[in-house]
Symmetry: C2
Subunit: 339 residues, 2 copies
DNA sequence: GTTAGAAATGGCATCGATAACATAGGCTCG
DNA sequence: CGAGCCTATGTTATCGATGCCATTTCTAAC
């Protein structure tokens, strides 16, 4: 095993490139980082050497000496079906990639504060430059604040940590728009199948519904709570089907809405003839299942992207940002009430 | 700015811990890595110091000196709606987290080879210890092979690179099971709405369908190709609705199936009375939309998890692994054909 | 009572890139 | 024509943990 052999085996380093190009390692470094003070001719030679040796820089070394990892962490809830989260993820990835940042993910299995702490810790260990939290946890512990103190953090539709900025779609507005649509059609009362109360989205949508009813001078009926799944919608729908005066329902997600619709139909109540239903998300299937769902769409993708730019561009705490307003797609799950 | 101030400001290093515990940095390192030769008493002291100073190790330094990053890269297709991919992701994350590995994601926007190369390059730059490719790309270029040569790679339901191992659910079997179910009900012919041909899944499901028909001595009708979206299913459904002899359809995904169903219904053909339809995925909504869908479920989560364990446990190329077989859920979108 | 060997620990070089400083040549301007 | 200043480049120390080797202490065995 000669020295040459050894050198051939490991990844080429900057020193190797420098040798090949007949310059110092520092010049290579400058070239690769687009430093202004490099002679174009030298640059050419360096780039040629890089190409020829197949050099890739070592991110660990880069990070160790520069102190920055060019990585941002993304905390996610590990749960198959929640539409909005996956859209946020895509937005984060795209925006981070654009800016030359890598994205490291940490998923948590449940809404437990301990799990959350562990995830943040893992990301901190990895030395991420920033963190996007896309988890709807309400409570924030001391320990979480300790961890996030040193790392810029943006929370998407979640809880507010001391130093963290929060950015979110106006979920209250979504709830308001949905509810108002039903009232406009002539319904006197709107029932609500909410998401789990620990979810900020769920809470805000419920608030929007409540406020809208209050403005209209209607007393809000009791809230039925689901867990976002079609099955939970189905169970709450079975209850609603037994209450004759129910003519309009606002479901907090499309999937729950379809569950509710199925339960109603099984009890002989049709949508939209007997009951109108409107929900939030506008998943791809909303327009194609029977009946096509009237639903409020929100741009979660943009929200994820915005989180990243907030993280990277503004080092100082900034006031909350808000993405574009929710948009109602009227389809055939809603109609004027029967007389 | 005294020396003490400076020290208080940066993250404590191993040397700081060592000083606090009255040992050498080396001993701290050994303690933290569970090296056998450390006196229990010393270990206690070190751990106490770690706790007190709030020490977190610096992953860059660790990686630089040990040469391993404890990170695995995951290549994904950036596309909102594909059910199976997000399940794979969850599986990868869970298994990697379990093993103490971080997951870094690289999404690609389309099935372009150049994009793929760039993503792999980014992951290679990050120094990942392994890569899981969850992208159904067929072609593999020289450059991709160059990159993956040095890094262990597992492909989930995708193309085979020279050194890469491939692991997959038996999609052919899924296609076969679905088709056989329709034949068993008494249908003489089964039509197929396939996924895009660049997708390995789509191809394999189509193969299973084809083979099953061949075994039954039926000549396969022309294939209609969609793009997985409900909308594409709808468009192909409009065509199928115009062909009177169509009584049974196998759709390559649940979302497309719902699109097909809607198109059929708009042309006055009901499911399952006039036409039976079966698909693959078993998304949460499959049981709750109208009609509840007969569909084949596959364990993509397990597939993702298996990819990681393959990556971490077996350094040498191993033969392909196969996850548990697909399972048919019979609901009400399929029935015996009308006489 | 010496020696072999294990257990516990410390010292030093090292990984690869970068920051900070140093230097050499070329240009401008009074 | 020399002071002053840019430009292009090289030198050296540094980031923080680890690998390897050296050292000390202790125990067991002959």
């Amino acid at each position: 095993m000669t020295d040459a052999t050894t050198r051939a085996m490991r990844q080429p380093s900057m020193a190797d490139v420098a040798r090949a190009a007949g310059v110092s390692a520092q010049t290579v470094s400058r070239t690769l980082r687009d430093s202004p003070n490099v002679n174009p001719e030298t640059r050419q030679r360096v780039l040629a050497a890089v190409e020829q040796l197949g050099y890739r820089f070592n991110s660990a070394a880069k990070m160790l000496s520069s102190g920055r990892s060019h990585t941002i962490g993304l905390v996610l809830l590990q749960s198959g079906g929640y539409y909005s989260r996956s859209a946020v993820t895509a937005g984060v990835e795209a925006a981070a990639g654009e800016a030359g940042y890598a994205v490291s993910i940490a998923t948590i299995a449940g809404l437990d504060t301990g799990l959350m702490e562990r995830s943040l810790g893992k990301l901190a260990d990895q030395g991420v430059d920033g963190i996007v939290i896309a988890v709807p946890l309400i409570s924030v512990t001391q320990k979480m604040e300790d961890i996030t103190r040193d790392i810029p953090t943006v929370t998407v539709d979640g809880s507010r940590t001391a130093g963290a900025r929060v950015l979110g779609i106006d979920q209250r507005e979504a709830g308001r728009v949905a509810t108002q649509h039903l009232l406009d059609l002539g319904h006197r009362q709107v029932w609500h199948v909410a998401g789990p109360d620990e979810w900020i989205e769920a809470r805000q949508r419920r608030q929007g519904w409540q406020e809208c009813l209050a403005v209209a001078g209607v007393e809000a009926p009791p809230v039925l709570e689901g867990d976002w799944s079609p099955d939970s919608g189905f169970r709450q729908g079975q209850i609603l089907a037994m209450i004759p005066e129910v003519t309009a329902i606002f479901a907090a997600s499309d999937e729950m809405a379809f569950g509710v619709i199925r339960a109603l139909r099984e009890r002989g109540r049709t949508v939209p003839d007997d009951v109108s239903i409107v929900s939030v998300d506008d998943i791809a299937l909303a327009a194609y299942c029977a009946p096509p769902l009237t639903t409020v769409r929100q741009d979660f993708y943009a929200s994820g992207a915005a989180a990243v730019s907030l993280l990277l561009q503004a080092p100082d705490p900034v006031d909350d940002a808000v993405i574009e307003p929710p948009l109602l797609s009227v389809r055939s799950s809603t109609a004027v009430p029967r007389l």
